[in-house]
Amino acid sequence: MDRREFLKTTQALLATIFGSSFFSIEELDAMETSENKPDLIWIHAMSCDGCSTSFLNAEISLVDILSRFVNIVFHPTVMAAEGKLSMEILKKYEDTQNDLIIVVEGAIPSKELPHACMMGEEFIRDTIVNTARKASLAIAAGTCASFLGICDMKGMHIDAVSLKKCLEEESVDTTVVNLPACPLKPNHLLYTLFYYIKNRKTPPIDLMHRPLRFFGNTVHERCVYYNDFQEKIFAKKIGDRGCLFKLGCQGPVTKCDCIKSGNDYDKYNCIKSGHPCVGCASENFPRNILFKHYDDERKLEKYKDFKRI
């Protein structure tokens, strides 16, 4: 592989993510030599690291992204620094004028229980608020940071808040882009980053701050079994032909592009693997029943009240 070839593959990949040739090869080339790259700080709040792990699987490798398009300043899973030195990076950042993007993974502790997550002997909530204040774009990576996901279940004592809510509580007006899905889909993040790099503004988003490009349709609307649903052919058990609705499929109430995106990364998905959608990108995830027997008559309940997202 040489340089030209590399730029070509990158361009092709971005074209599948954007649905059009968003960047010309010349633009990609110029981007790399530009001195004006935005900085990126990635912070783990109450997360499982799944979004970071998932991002390592991005089709454009992490090292390429790092060395060409954005300047990743802080990322706990890949950085060589540790302890005090890594915290100094965040401290030093408070005095610069660089263009900054903050990515937050995981839900954020409430004001009442801030000690539920700490980093560098500081409350992670404070670190996030201070960094986000300087940032021109805040990205909530994954379902927990966007809609709380598994960090907000009935019996929990933490009362965690989403990134958007946290910034509202602390009156920080940085725009938040929510990228739900558990784990984060690398393409969603690449899209948001590249859109920002090119236009210096957030991509078009819906009322829940999700990019319209990925969250305009439900999983159901694009499902391979949509015809079966129309014909009322329902699977009675896994492996049967037909729509998985009666097995507890959350596709009709979950907005995400799982089925639609046809590029390499997403060629596998839950429904193709025979399992009903568990609704991991939904604001109601997790419901009390995610997968059931077809004649099971227990009620699917929603618990979430949306006061904290």
């Binding site: 799944g50 990743i72 997550c117 560098g120």
Partner: protein, 508 residues
């Protein structure tokens, strides 16, 4: 001198380590897990099958193991037998994920403790990726930016590998490893639907139908991955082990090792054996209800020692008590029959070796031991743990290919459960990437969970002191360690990372 490392980066989650050094020796150590969610008790009132999807979300690095343990617990409660394809496919999903984790751990997370990344400047070959990387480093250095790329903020002086050719090989493999991990992730996705957080693992098997094209893809990827593991990963670990030979004596913890069964063979036996060894005397079989978790030093209002499923709720302490008590971590302190134990790949290798049940493993270990002039006792060390991961990886990849060839094409490896059960209990035991993992489920009326308990590998390893003030496994590894240069205490980082801590799991 007191020293705090917070955050410990390049691990999974939030860890703080406090040590006290006197006369170049660590005299006390405290490991603090800094994140709490309270997942297991929040499962109460949810459907029993949600346990599989929700518990795997405790951890983005070893979700497969949580999913498997939850599925095993349900299968144990309902007395379900898996069919042939279900066993094989489940091995193929979790095995591939294990490999991805081992690679991630050695290259992405640990190798920066050994490689001198500046060696890249001496590169004069013609590999595209390496040249690009060199160009990038040169640019970074010449730009004199306030924020250098995180890859180059190496802190310690004079501790890295001095041989620049060796460094270059490792850097090359560090970069190649990203591709290898993607291959392993794709293997997981073929039958698991996505990675991390596979939906296809369910109680009863794997929901994906093993079609011929999926199988062929899987086997092809597995063969590529085998190449990488045998010729690059294993060789690199061996060379690093030779270079840092003194690390077979550093980071020795307690001599108690606990393992559970994993990767079932078709005849019902397992690849690695479950059991407990003390001072290198091995006893097969485990009694899961002999586990007790102590809370004296953990930030919970309940202070005692509790058996699995004994508590039906855990309450976090408030901010005032958090700041003014002896408690120092969110992690509880599990003990097996009263012993502090180490779990993980070193435990697998030691216990399986001592049992003598896996001849292939014993052969590999014997060969390495004579080459490096070490004994099985030296596996209880920093290098021993790295080496164990490489040995286990080689054995797993062989098994995956064998299993994939055994799958009956087109036959669904899944038995769907009928009515939701009432009033049953089950235990699921498995080996995760980081060691022995146990799930306990108590299903109440109509399929809803009454109580749930997870005892997770990293909880064993980074456990705080128990109620008798005996320090945990990682703490004991640190205590007594000789620090060569107090200004460059890299020994501490290397010991911590050798156990591959995963804090999201540990506290859950």
């Amino acid at each position: 001198m007191k020293l705090t490392i917070d955050p410990v980066t390049r691990i999974e989650g939030h860890l703080k380590v406090n040590v006290e050094i006197k006369n170049s020796k660590i005299v006390s150590a405290k490991c603090s897990a800094d994140m709490y969610r309270g997942l297991e008790k929040a499962l109460k009132g949810y459907d029993y099958l949600t346990a599989i999807q929700i518990t795997q979300r405790t951890c983005g690095c070893c979700p497969y193991a949580q999913a498997e343990a939850a599925a095993l617990a349900i299968e144990d409660a309902l007395q379900i037998e898996l069919n042939k394809n279900a066993k094989l496919l489940r091995n193929m999903v979790i095995g591939a994920y294990k490999l991805k984790d081992y690679l991630l751990h050695f290259y992405t997370l640990s190798s920066l403790d050994f490689i001198n990344i500046n060696s890249i400047l001496k590169y004069n070959g013609n590999d595209f990726k390496m040249l690009e990387f060199k160009k990038y480093v040169l640019k970074e250095i010449s730009s004199k930016k306030v924020f250098p790329s995180p890859l180059f903020t190496q802190k310690y002086k004079n501790v890295y590998i001095k041989n620049s050719k060796f460094n270059l090989t490792l850097i090359k493999h560090y970069l190649e490893n990203f591709e290898a991990m993607k291959k392993a992730a794709e293997m997981v996705k073929i039958f698991g639907a996505k990675a991390p957080h596979m939906t296809a693992i369910e109680a009863g098997g794997i929901t994906t139908r093993p079609t011929a094209d999926r199988l062929i893809k899987y086997i092809n990827l597995a063969k590529d991955l085998k190449e990488f593991i045998y010729n690059k990963y294993f060789e690199d670990v061996l060379r690093v082990a030779k270079y840092f030979k003194e690390y077979f004596k550093i980071g020795k913890g307690v001599n108690n090792f606990l393992t559970f069964n994993t990767l079932q063979n078709l005849d019902g036996s397992y690849m690695f054996v479950a059991g407990f060894s003390k001072d290198f005397r091995f006893e097969e079989g485990v009694e899961p209800y002999e586990i007790i978790e102590y809370n004296n030093y953990a930030y919970y209002k309940e202070n005692g020692g509790y058996k699995p499923l004994e508590l039906d709720d855990l309450h976090p302490v408030d901010l005032e008590e958090f700041e003014n008590s002896e408690k120092y971590t969110w992690s509880r302190a599990p003990r097996y029959k009263g012993h502090v134990v180490e779990v993980g790949p070193a435990a697998i290798v030691i216990n399986t070796y001592l049992s003598g049940k896996n001849h292939k493993l014993n052969k590999i270990v014997n060969k390495i031991n004579s080459e490096l002039d070490i004994s099985i006792k030296d596996y209880n060390s920093v290098m021993g743990r790295h080496l164990s991961r490489a040995i286990v990886s080689m054995m797993i990849i062989d098994k995956l290919i064998e299993d994939a060839l055994n799958v009956d094409e087109g036959v669904l490896g899944f038995t769907q459960l009928k009515k939701p059960p009432s009033n049953v209990k089950g235990v699921g035991l498995t080996e995760a990437t980081r060691g022995a993992l146990a799930h306990f489920i108590d299903i109440g009326e109509n399929g809803y969970i009454r109580n749930y308990e997870m005892v997770v590998p990293t909880t064993w390893n980074i456990s705080p002191k128990d109620n008798r003030d005996i320090p945990g496994a990682l703490e004991s590894m640190l205590i007594g360690t000789h620090i060569k240069d107090e200004n460059n205490p890299i020994e501490i980082s290397r010991i911590i990372r050798s156990t591959d801590p995963c804090l999201a799991c540990a506290v859950h």
